[in-house]
Protein backbone atom coordinates (compact mmCIF):
# COMPACT_ATOMS: atom_id res chain seq x y z
CA UNK A 1 0.00 0.00 0.00
CA UNK A 2 1.06 3.57 -0.67
CA UNK A 3 0.05 6.12 1.94
CA UNK A 4 0.50 9.84 2.51
CA UNK A 5 0.84 10.68 6.19
CA UNK A 6 0.46 14.09 7.79
CA UNK A 7 1.92 13.74 11.27
CA UNK A 8 1.84 16.37 14.01
CA UNK A 9 5.38 17.39 15.00
CA UNK A 10 5.95 19.45 18.13
CA UNK A 11 9.21 19.84 20.05
CA UNK A 12 7.63 20.36 23.50
CA UNK A 13 4.69 21.90 25.29
CA UNK A 14 5.99 25.44 24.95
CA UNK A 15 6.56 25.43 21.19
CA UNK A 16 3.99 25.50 18.43
CA UNK A 17 3.58 22.37 16.37
CA UNK A 18 2.71 21.73 12.74
CA UNK A 19 2.06 18.87 10.35
CA UNK A 20 4.90 17.15 8.52
CA UNK A 21 4.21 15.17 5.37
CA UNK A 22 5.61 11.65 4.93
CA UNK A 23 5.29 9.36 1.94
CA UNK A 24 5.03 5.62 2.71
CA UNK A 25 5.51 3.38 -0.30
CA UNK A 26 5.51 -0.14 1.03
CA UNK A 27 2.95 -0.62 3.78
CA UNK A 28 1.65 -4.15 4.36
CA UNK A 29 -2.09 -4.40 5.08
CA UNK A 30 -1.19 -6.88 7.86
CA UNK A 31 0.74 -4.30 9.84
CA UNK A 32 -0.82 -2.72 12.85
CA UNK A 33 -1.03 1.06 12.84
CA UNK A 34 1.83 1.33 15.33
CA UNK A 35 4.01 -1.08 13.30
CA UNK A 36 3.49 1.19 10.34
CA UNK A 37 4.83 4.07 12.48
CA UNK A 38 7.76 1.83 13.59
CA UNK A 39 8.67 1.30 9.93
CA UNK A 40 8.53 5.05 9.34
CA UNK A 41 10.73 5.69 12.39
CA UNK A 42 13.35 3.13 11.28
CA UNK A 43 13.53 4.90 7.96
CA UNK A 44 13.88 8.26 9.67
CA UNK A 45 16.67 6.92 11.94
CA UNK A 46 18.60 5.57 8.95
CA UNK A 47 18.26 8.96 7.27
CA UNK A 48 19.60 10.58 10.47
CA UNK A 49 16.31 12.38 11.16
CA UNK A 50 14.36 12.71 14.38
CA UNK A 51 11.87 9.81 14.73
CA UNK A 52 8.20 10.51 15.47
CA UNK A 53 7.48 10.25 19.21
CA UNK A 54 4.33 8.32 20.10
CA UNK A 55 3.04 6.55 23.22
CA UNK A 56 2.57 2.79 23.37
CA UNK A 57 3.11 -0.11 25.73
CA UNK A 58 1.08 -3.32 25.64
CA UNK A 59 0.03 -3.13 21.99
CA UNK A 60 -2.85 -5.43 22.83
CA UNK A 61 -5.53 -2.92 23.72
CA UNK A 62 -5.39 -3.17 27.51
CA UNK A 63 -2.95 -0.62 28.88
CA UNK A 64 -4.36 2.59 27.46
CA UNK A 65 -0.96 4.03 26.50
CA UNK A 66 -1.50 4.48 22.76
CA UNK A 67 -3.16 7.76 22.03
CA UNK A 68 -3.46 8.82 18.40
CA UNK A 69 -6.15 10.87 16.73
CA UNK A 70 -6.37 9.34 13.28
CA UNK A 71 -8.27 11.32 10.66
CA UNK A 72 -10.06 13.29 13.37
CA UNK A 73 -11.10 10.25 15.39
CA UNK A 74 -9.54 9.21 18.66
CA UNK A 75 -8.00 5.73 18.11
CA UNK A 76 -9.03 5.88 14.45
CA UNK A 77 -12.01 4.72 12.44
CA UNK A 78 -12.70 1.35 14.08
CA UNK A 79 -15.24 1.27 16.87
CA UNK A 80 -14.19 -0.16 20.24
CA UNK A 81 -10.59 -0.50 19.09
CA UNK A 82 -7.41 1.11 20.39
CA UNK A 83 -4.94 2.53 17.89
CA UNK A 84 -2.55 -0.35 18.62
CA UNK A 85 -5.22 -2.89 17.63
CA UNK A 86 -6.08 -1.07 14.42
CA UNK A 87 -4.69 -2.66 11.28
CA UNK A 88 -3.67 -1.12 7.99
CA UNK A 89 -6.18 -3.27 6.11
CA UNK A 90 -8.78 -0.80 7.39
CA UNK A 91 -7.24 1.75 5.01
CA UNK A 92 -7.05 1.84 1.22
CA UNK A 93 -4.08 2.12 -1.09
CA UNK A 94 -3.42 5.82 -1.80
CA UNK A 95 -5.13 7.09 1.36
CA UNK A 96 -4.07 10.28 3.10
CA UNK A 97 -3.98 9.91 6.89
CA UNK A 98 -3.79 12.72 9.45
CA UNK A 99 -2.23 11.70 12.78
CA UNK A 100 -2.52 14.05 15.74
CA UNK A 101 -2.10 13.95 19.52
CA UNK A 102 -5.03 14.14 21.97
CA UNK A 103 -5.99 17.81 22.05
CA UNK A 104 -7.18 19.21 25.40
CA UNK A 105 -5.91 21.94 27.69
CA UNK A 106 -5.45 19.46 30.53
CA UNK A 107 -3.30 17.18 28.32
CA UNK A 108 -0.27 19.27 27.27
CA UNK A 109 1.82 17.87 24.43
CA UNK A 110 5.12 16.43 25.64
CA UNK A 111 6.50 15.81 22.18
CA UNK A 112 4.94 15.10 18.77
CA UNK A 113 2.09 12.67 19.46
CA UNK A 114 2.76 12.16 23.18
CA UNK A 115 0.65 14.05 25.71
CA UNK A 116 0.94 14.29 29.48
CA UNK A 117 -2.02 12.44 30.99
CA UNK A 118 -0.91 12.62 34.62
CA UNK A 119 -4.05 14.69 35.35
CA UNK A 120 -5.90 11.35 35.23
CA UNK A 121 -3.61 9.92 37.91
CA UNK A 122 -4.34 12.89 40.14
CA UNK A 123 -8.10 12.38 39.73
CA UNK A 124 -7.64 8.76 40.84
CA UNK A 125 -5.47 9.90 43.74
CA UNK A 126 -8.16 12.35 44.85
CA UNK A 127 -10.54 9.39 45.13
CA UNK A 128 -8.49 8.18 48.10
CA UNK A 129 -8.72 4.86 49.84
CA UNK A 130 -11.55 2.39 50.28
CA UNK A 131 -11.91 0.64 53.63
CA UNK A 132 -11.28 -3.06 53.08
CA UNK A 133 -9.43 -5.46 55.35
CA UNK A 134 -5.88 -6.03 54.10
CA UNK A 135 -3.82 -9.13 54.62
CA UNK A 136 -4.50 -12.44 52.96
CA UNK A 137 -6.96 -12.55 50.07
CA UNK A 138 -10.55 -12.55 51.36
CA UNK A 139 -12.94 -15.42 50.70
CA UNK A 140 -14.57 -14.58 47.35
CA UNK A 141 -18.14 -14.97 48.54
CA UNK A 142 -17.80 -13.17 51.87
CA UNK A 143 -19.63 -10.12 50.59
CA UNK A 144 -22.63 -11.08 48.45
CA UNK A 145 -22.97 -8.91 45.33
CA UNK A 146 -25.81 -9.37 42.86
CA UNK A 147 -24.87 -10.48 39.36
CA UNK A 148 -26.41 -7.31 37.88
CA UNK A 149 -24.31 -5.08 40.11
CA UNK A 150 -21.16 -7.09 39.47
CA UNK A 151 -21.71 -6.84 35.70
CA UNK A 152 -22.43 -3.12 35.83
CA UNK A 153 -19.37 -2.44 37.98
CA UNK A 154 -17.29 -4.49 35.53
CA UNK A 155 -18.60 -2.46 32.57
CA UNK A 156 -17.39 0.71 34.32
CA UNK A 157 -14.11 -0.88 35.39
CA UNK A 158 -13.34 -1.74 31.75
CA UNK A 159 -11.97 1.82 31.41
CA UNK A 160 -8.27 1.68 30.53
CA UNK A 161 -7.73 5.40 31.17
CA UNK A 162 -6.45 6.16 27.68
CA UNK A 163 -8.07 9.60 27.51
CA UNK A 164 -9.84 9.12 24.16
CA UNK A 165 -13.00 10.51 25.80
CA UNK A 166 -11.23 13.78 26.56
CA UNK A 167 -9.70 13.89 23.08
CA UNK A 168 -13.09 13.40 21.40
CA UNK A 169 -15.00 15.85 23.60
CA UNK A 170 -15.45 19.33 22.12
CA UNK A 171 -15.24 20.63 25.73
CA UNK A 172 -12.10 18.69 26.64
CA UNK A 173 -14.13 17.10 29.43
CA UNK A 174 -12.99 14.11 31.48
CA UNK A 175 -16.50 13.23 32.61
CA UNK A 176 -16.58 9.75 31.07
CA UNK A 177 -13.26 8.76 32.64
CA UNK A 178 -14.13 10.19 36.06
CA UNK A 179 -17.64 8.74 35.88
CA UNK A 180 -16.32 5.26 35.07
CA UNK A 181 -13.92 5.41 38.01
CA UNK A 182 -16.53 6.81 40.42
CA UNK A 183 -19.18 4.35 39.23
CA UNK A 184 -17.31 1.09 39.53
CA UNK A 185 -16.77 1.76 43.22
CA UNK A 186 -20.19 3.33 43.82
CA UNK A 187 -21.94 0.20 42.56
CA UNK A 188 -20.04 -2.15 44.89
CA UNK A 189 -20.35 -2.46 48.68
CA UNK A 190 -16.57 -2.11 49.10
CA UNK A 191 -15.78 1.55 49.54
CA UNK A 192 -19.35 2.48 50.42
CA UNK A 193 -18.36 4.37 53.62
CA UNK A 194 -16.27 6.81 51.57
CA UNK A 195 -18.62 7.14 48.61
CA UNK A 196 -19.83 10.72 49.26
CA UNK A 197 -16.39 12.08 50.01
CA UNK A 198 -14.98 10.26 46.98
CA UNK A 199 -17.36 11.56 44.31
CA UNK A 200 -16.97 15.15 45.50
CA UNK A 201 -13.19 14.98 45.70
CA UNK A 202 -12.80 13.38 42.27
CA UNK A 203 -15.11 15.91 40.58
CA UNK A 204 -13.34 18.82 42.27
CA UNK A 205 -9.98 17.44 41.14
CA UNK A 206 -11.27 16.93 37.60
CA UNK A 207 -12.32 20.58 37.47
CA UNK A 208 -9.13 21.93 38.95
CA UNK A 209 -7.05 20.02 36.39
CA UNK A 210 -8.64 22.22 33.71
CA UNK A 211 -10.99 19.72 32.09
CA UNK A 212 -14.25 21.14 30.75
CA UNK A 213 -17.80 20.25 31.71
CA UNK A 214 -20.21 17.85 30.08
CA UNK A 215 -22.79 19.13 27.59
CA UNK A 216 -24.03 15.66 26.68
CA UNK A 217 -22.76 15.55 23.10
CA UNK A 218 -22.01 11.85 23.59
CA UNK A 219 -18.81 11.95 21.48
CA UNK A 220 -16.86 10.29 24.34
CA UNK A 221 -18.81 7.03 24.34
CA UNK A 222 -18.36 6.71 20.56
CA UNK A 223 -14.61 7.22 20.86
CA UNK A 224 -14.14 4.94 23.87
CA UNK A 225 -12.23 1.79 22.85
CA UNK A 226 -14.00 -0.07 25.64
CA UNK A 227 -17.48 1.18 24.75
CA UNK A 228 -18.08 2.78 28.16
CA UNK A 229 -21.60 4.24 28.22
CA UNK A 230 -22.53 7.79 29.21
CA UNK A 231 -24.98 6.02 31.51
CA UNK A 232 -22.09 6.18 33.98
CA UNK A 233 -22.00 9.98 33.66
CA UNK A 234 -25.66 9.95 34.59
CA UNK A 235 -24.84 7.64 37.48
CA UNK A 236 -22.03 9.91 38.71
CA UNK A 237 -24.32 12.96 38.49
CA UNK A 238 -26.83 11.14 40.66
CA UNK A 239 -24.09 10.10 43.07
CA UNK A 240 -22.97 13.74 43.25
CA UNK A 241 -26.51 14.98 43.97
CA UNK A 242 -26.89 12.36 46.72
CA UNK A 243 -23.54 13.28 48.26
CA UNK A 244 -24.51 16.95 48.41
CA UNK A 245 -27.94 16.25 49.87
CA UNK A 246 -26.31 14.03 52.46
CA UNK A 247 -23.83 16.71 53.49
CA UNK A 248 -26.67 19.25 53.81
CA UNK A 249 -28.53 16.89 56.11
CA UNK A 250 -25.50 15.88 58.18
CA UNK A 251 -25.12 17.34 61.66
CA UNK A 252 -21.97 19.34 62.21
CA UNK A 253 -20.05 19.19 65.49
CA UNK A 254 -21.42 17.78 68.71
CA UNK A 255 -25.05 16.71 68.60
CA UNK A 256 -26.89 18.07 71.65
CA UNK A 257 -30.30 17.25 73.13
CA UNK A 258 -33.04 19.09 71.27
Amino acid sequence: MKLTLYIWRQKNSSTKGSFERFQMDDVSPDMSFLEMLDVLNEKLLVEGKEPVAFDHDCREGICGACSLVINGQAHGPMERTTACQLHMRKFNDGDTIYIEPWRAKAFPVVKDLIVDRSAFDRIIQAGGYISVPTGSAPEANNIPISKDDADLAMDAAACIGCGACVAACPNGSAMLFTAAKVSHLAILPQGAPERHRRVKAMIERMDSEGFGGCTNHGECQKACPKGISIKFISLMNREYIKANLASLARDKGEVTAQ
Binding site: G72, R103, K105, G212, G218, E219, K231, I233
Partner: protein, 246 residues
Protein backbone atom coordinates in the same frame (compact mmCIF):
# COMPACT_ATOMS: atom_id res chain seq x y z
CA UNK B 1 -17.30 27.95 52.04
CA UNK B 2 -20.90 26.83 52.36
CA UNK B 3 -22.05 23.55 50.84
CA UNK B 4 -24.10 25.40 48.20
CA UNK B 5 -21.09 27.43 47.03
CA UNK B 6 -19.01 24.28 46.96
CA UNK B 7 -21.67 22.59 44.85
CA UNK B 8 -22.07 25.53 42.45
CA UNK B 9 -18.30 25.84 42.00
CA UNK B 10 -18.02 22.49 40.18
CA UNK B 11 -18.96 21.91 36.54
CA UNK B 12 -21.32 19.12 37.60
CA UNK B 13 -23.06 21.33 40.16
CA UNK B 14 -23.45 24.14 37.63
CA UNK B 15 -24.80 21.71 35.09
CA UNK B 16 -27.41 20.51 37.57
CA UNK B 17 -28.41 24.13 38.23
CA UNK B 18 -28.75 24.64 34.44
CA UNK B 19 -30.92 21.53 34.20
CA UNK B 20 -33.27 22.50 37.05
CA UNK B 21 -33.66 26.11 35.86
CA UNK B 22 -34.09 24.86 32.27
CA UNK B 23 -36.87 22.52 33.39
CA UNK B 24 -38.62 25.39 35.22
CA UNK B 25 -38.34 27.60 32.13
CA UNK B 26 -39.83 24.80 30.08
CA UNK B 27 -42.84 24.57 32.44
CA UNK B 28 -43.34 28.31 32.00
CA UNK B 29 -43.22 27.89 28.23
CA UNK B 30 -45.99 25.28 28.32
CA UNK B 31 -48.27 27.58 30.31
CA UNK B 32 -47.39 30.57 28.11
CA UNK B 33 -48.11 28.64 24.93
CA UNK B 34 -51.50 27.43 26.16
CA UNK B 35 -52.36 31.02 27.11
CA UNK B 36 -51.35 32.30 23.65
CA UNK B 37 -53.51 29.74 21.91
CA UNK B 38 -56.53 31.49 23.42
CA UNK B 39 -56.12 33.84 20.44
CA UNK B 40 -57.98 31.13 18.51
CA UNK B 41 -60.85 31.04 21.06
CA UNK B 42 -62.60 34.09 19.58
CA UNK B 43 -64.92 36.42 21.51
CA UNK B 44 -66.27 35.74 25.00
CA UNK B 45 -70.08 36.11 24.78
CA UNK B 46 -70.40 37.13 28.44
CA UNK B 47 -68.19 40.23 28.26
CA UNK B 48 -68.02 40.77 24.50
CA UNK B 49 -64.23 40.81 24.76
CA UNK B 50 -61.66 38.66 23.04
CA UNK B 51 -60.95 35.57 25.15
CA UNK B 52 -57.24 36.43 24.83
CA UNK B 53 -57.86 39.82 26.43
CA UNK B 54 -60.00 38.28 29.14
CA UNK B 55 -57.15 35.90 29.92
CA UNK B 56 -54.68 38.77 30.12
CA UNK B 57 -56.97 40.51 32.61
CA UNK B 58 -57.34 37.31 34.58
CA UNK B 59 -53.57 37.13 34.97
CA UNK B 60 -53.60 40.64 36.46
CA UNK B 61 -56.64 40.15 38.66
CA UNK B 62 -55.73 36.69 39.93
CA UNK B 63 -55.30 36.83 43.71
CA UNK B 64 -55.94 40.60 43.87
CA UNK B 65 -57.75 40.16 47.21
CA UNK B 66 -54.46 39.08 48.73
CA UNK B 67 -51.72 40.80 46.76
CA UNK B 68 -53.58 43.55 44.92
CA UNK B 69 -53.99 44.15 41.18
CA UNK B 70 -51.14 42.49 39.24
CA UNK B 71 -49.60 41.30 42.53
CA UNK B 72 -49.42 37.63 41.63
CA UNK B 73 -48.34 38.54 38.10
CA UNK B 74 -45.41 40.57 39.38
CA UNK B 75 -44.41 37.86 41.82
CA UNK B 76 -44.38 35.36 38.98
CA UNK B 77 -42.43 37.75 36.76
CA UNK B 78 -39.78 38.25 39.45
CA UNK B 79 -39.55 34.50 40.02
CA UNK B 80 -39.18 33.87 36.30
CA UNK B 81 -36.57 36.57 35.95
CA UNK B 82 -34.52 35.07 38.77
CA UNK B 83 -34.71 31.59 37.23
CA UNK B 84 -33.87 32.95 33.78
CA UNK B 85 -30.89 34.95 35.03
CA UNK B 86 -29.55 31.94 36.97
CA UNK B 87 -29.88 29.76 33.85
CA UNK B 88 -28.14 32.28 31.61
CA UNK B 89 -25.32 33.15 34.03
CA UNK B 90 -24.66 29.49 34.82
CA UNK B 91 -24.52 28.34 31.21
CA UNK B 92 -22.36 31.28 30.16
CA UNK B 93 -19.86 30.40 32.91
CA UNK B 94 -19.93 26.76 31.82
CA UNK B 95 -19.57 27.60 28.14
CA UNK B 96 -16.55 29.84 28.76
CA UNK B 97 -14.93 27.09 30.83
CA UNK B 98 -15.63 24.48 28.18
CA UNK B 99 -14.23 26.68 25.40
CA UNK B 100 -11.03 27.16 27.40
CA UNK B 101 -10.68 23.43 28.15
CA UNK B 102 -10.94 22.14 24.59
CA UNK B 103 -7.65 21.81 22.76
CA UNK B 104 -8.80 23.28 19.45
CA UNK B 105 -10.07 21.33 16.50
CA UNK B 106 -8.45 18.49 14.61
CA UNK B 107 -7.35 18.68 10.97
CA UNK B 108 -10.38 16.63 10.05
CA UNK B 109 -13.13 17.10 12.61
CA UNK B 110 -15.58 14.27 12.60
CA UNK B 111 -18.66 14.23 14.81
CA UNK B 112 -20.04 10.80 15.62
CA UNK B 113 -22.94 11.53 17.92
CA UNK B 114 -23.36 15.22 18.71
CA UNK B 115 -26.21 16.99 16.93
CA UNK B 116 -26.73 20.43 15.42
CA UNK B 117 -28.90 21.08 18.48
CA UNK B 118 -26.21 20.08 20.98
CA UNK B 119 -23.52 22.11 19.22
CA UNK B 120 -25.66 25.27 19.05
CA UNK B 121 -26.84 25.40 22.67
CA UNK B 122 -24.70 28.44 23.50
CA UNK B 123 -25.16 30.49 20.33
CA UNK B 124 -28.83 29.50 20.07
CA UNK B 125 -29.27 30.38 23.74
CA UNK B 126 -27.75 33.83 23.19
CA UNK B 127 -30.14 34.42 20.28
CA UNK B 128 -33.01 33.36 22.56
CA UNK B 129 -31.80 35.85 25.17
CA UNK B 130 -31.90 38.64 22.57
CA UNK B 131 -35.30 37.42 21.45
CA UNK B 132 -36.74 37.41 24.97
CA UNK B 133 -35.60 41.02 25.49
CA UNK B 134 -37.11 42.03 22.13
CA UNK B 135 -40.32 40.15 22.89
CA UNK B 136 -40.84 41.93 26.24
CA UNK B 137 -40.14 45.35 24.70
CA UNK B 138 -42.52 44.39 21.90
CA UNK B 139 -45.66 43.06 23.58
CA UNK B 140 -45.28 43.83 27.29
CA UNK B 141 -44.01 47.41 27.30
CA UNK B 142 -44.86 48.22 23.68
CA UNK B 143 -41.57 50.09 23.25
CA UNK B 144 -40.68 48.26 20.03
CA UNK B 145 -44.27 47.88 18.81
CA UNK B 146 -44.50 50.38 15.95
CA UNK B 147 -47.94 49.50 14.62
CA UNK B 148 -50.51 50.87 17.03
CA UNK B 149 -49.88 49.48 20.54
CA UNK B 150 -52.52 49.92 23.26
CA UNK B 151 -52.05 48.44 26.77
CA UNK B 152 -54.56 45.69 27.53
CA UNK B 153 -55.63 45.15 23.91
CA UNK B 154 -53.70 41.95 23.53
CA UNK B 155 -55.60 40.59 20.53
CA UNK B 156 -55.45 43.88 18.61
CA UNK B 157 -51.76 44.38 19.43
CA UNK B 158 -50.91 40.92 18.18
CA UNK B 159 -53.03 41.37 15.06
CA UNK B 160 -51.35 44.67 14.19
CA UNK B 161 -47.85 43.34 14.88
CA UNK B 162 -48.22 40.25 12.76
CA UNK B 163 -49.44 42.11 9.68
CA UNK B 164 -45.77 43.04 9.24
CA UNK B 165 -43.78 40.33 7.49
CA UNK B 166 -40.48 40.84 9.30
CA UNK B 167 -42.13 40.65 12.72
CA UNK B 168 -43.65 37.30 11.74
CA UNK B 169 -40.23 36.19 10.48
CA UNK B 170 -38.47 37.15 13.74
CA UNK B 171 -41.00 35.18 15.76
CA UNK B 172 -40.88 32.10 13.54
CA UNK B 173 -37.06 32.00 13.38
CA UNK B 174 -36.87 32.42 17.17
CA UNK B 175 -39.26 29.49 17.63
CA UNK B 176 -37.17 27.22 15.38
CA UNK B 177 -34.14 28.09 17.50
CA UNK B 178 -36.16 27.47 20.67
CA UNK B 179 -37.23 24.09 19.29
CA UNK B 180 -33.59 23.12 18.67
CA UNK B 181 -32.61 24.29 22.17
CA UNK B 182 -35.37 22.21 23.70
CA UNK B 183 -34.64 19.15 21.57
CA UNK B 184 -31.22 18.85 23.17
CA UNK B 185 -32.09 20.43 26.52
CA UNK B 186 -35.13 18.36 27.39
CA UNK B 187 -33.24 15.11 26.96
CA UNK B 188 -30.01 16.48 28.38
CA UNK B 189 -31.63 17.48 31.65
CA UNK B 190 -32.53 13.86 32.44
CA UNK B 191 -28.93 12.82 31.79
CA UNK B 192 -27.67 15.69 33.95
CA UNK B 193 -29.99 14.83 36.83
CA UNK B 194 -28.91 11.20 36.68
CA UNK B 195 -32.27 9.90 35.49
CA UNK B 196 -31.26 8.53 32.06
CA UNK B 197 -29.84 5.14 31.10
CA UNK B 198 -29.64 2.91 28.01
CA UNK B 199 -33.23 1.71 28.44
CA UNK B 200 -34.78 5.15 28.93
CA UNK B 201 -32.56 6.92 26.38
CA UNK B 202 -34.58 6.33 23.23
CA UNK B 203 -38.00 7.13 24.74
CA UNK B 204 -36.59 10.26 26.42
CA UNK B 205 -34.99 11.52 23.20
CA UNK B 206 -38.25 10.91 21.34
CA UNK B 207 -40.19 12.72 24.06
CA UNK B 208 -37.79 15.68 23.85
CA UNK B 209 -38.27 15.78 20.07
CA UNK B 210 -42.06 15.68 20.30
CA UNK B 211 -42.19 18.35 23.02
CA UNK B 212 -39.77 20.58 21.10
CA UNK B 213 -41.92 20.37 17.94
CA UNK B 214 -45.18 20.90 19.88
CA UNK B 215 -43.78 23.97 21.68
CA UNK B 216 -42.26 25.49 18.53
CA UNK B 217 -45.37 24.93 16.39
CA UNK B 218 -47.72 25.92 19.23
CA UNK B 219 -46.01 29.30 19.55
CA UNK B 220 -45.72 29.77 15.79
CA UNK B 221 -49.43 29.14 15.28
CA UNK B 222 -50.37 32.58 16.61
CA UNK B 223 -48.16 34.79 14.37
CA UNK B 224 -48.93 32.56 11.38
CA UNK B 225 -52.65 32.65 12.24
CA UNK B 226 -52.68 36.44 12.22
CA UNK B 227 -50.47 36.74 9.14
CA UNK B 228 -52.52 34.30 7.09
CA UNK B 229 -55.87 35.85 7.99
CA UNK B 230 -57.17 32.78 9.84
CA UNK B 231 -57.41 35.07 12.87
CA UNK B 232 -59.58 38.04 11.74
CA UNK B 233 -58.89 41.74 12.28
CA UNK B 234 -60.27 43.03 15.61
CA UNK B 235 -63.66 44.70 15.29
CA UNK B 236 -63.78 48.27 16.60
CA UNK B 237 -66.80 47.43 18.76
CA UNK B 238 -64.96 44.74 20.68
CA UNK B 239 -61.90 46.91 21.04
CA UNK B 240 -63.78 49.79 22.64
CA UNK B 241 -65.52 47.37 24.96
CA UNK B 242 -62.16 46.06 26.13
CA UNK B 243 -61.10 49.62 26.80
CA UNK B 244 -64.26 50.38 28.79
CA UNK B 245 -63.87 47.30 30.94
CA UNK B 246 -60.28 48.03 31.89
Amino acid sequence: MGPICEFYKTTVGKKIVAAVTGALLFLFLVAHMVGNLKAFAGIDPATGMYKLDVYARFLREFGHMVLGYSGVLWLTRIGLLVVFVIHVVTVIQLTLRNRAAGGGSYAKNRYLSSTVASRTMAIGGLILLAYVIYHILHFTTGTLHFHGFKHGHVYANAYNAFQVWWVVLIYCVAMVILGLHLYHGLWSLFQTLGLDGPRTNRPLRCLAGVLAVVIALGFMAVPLGFASGILPAPTTQVTTQTALLR
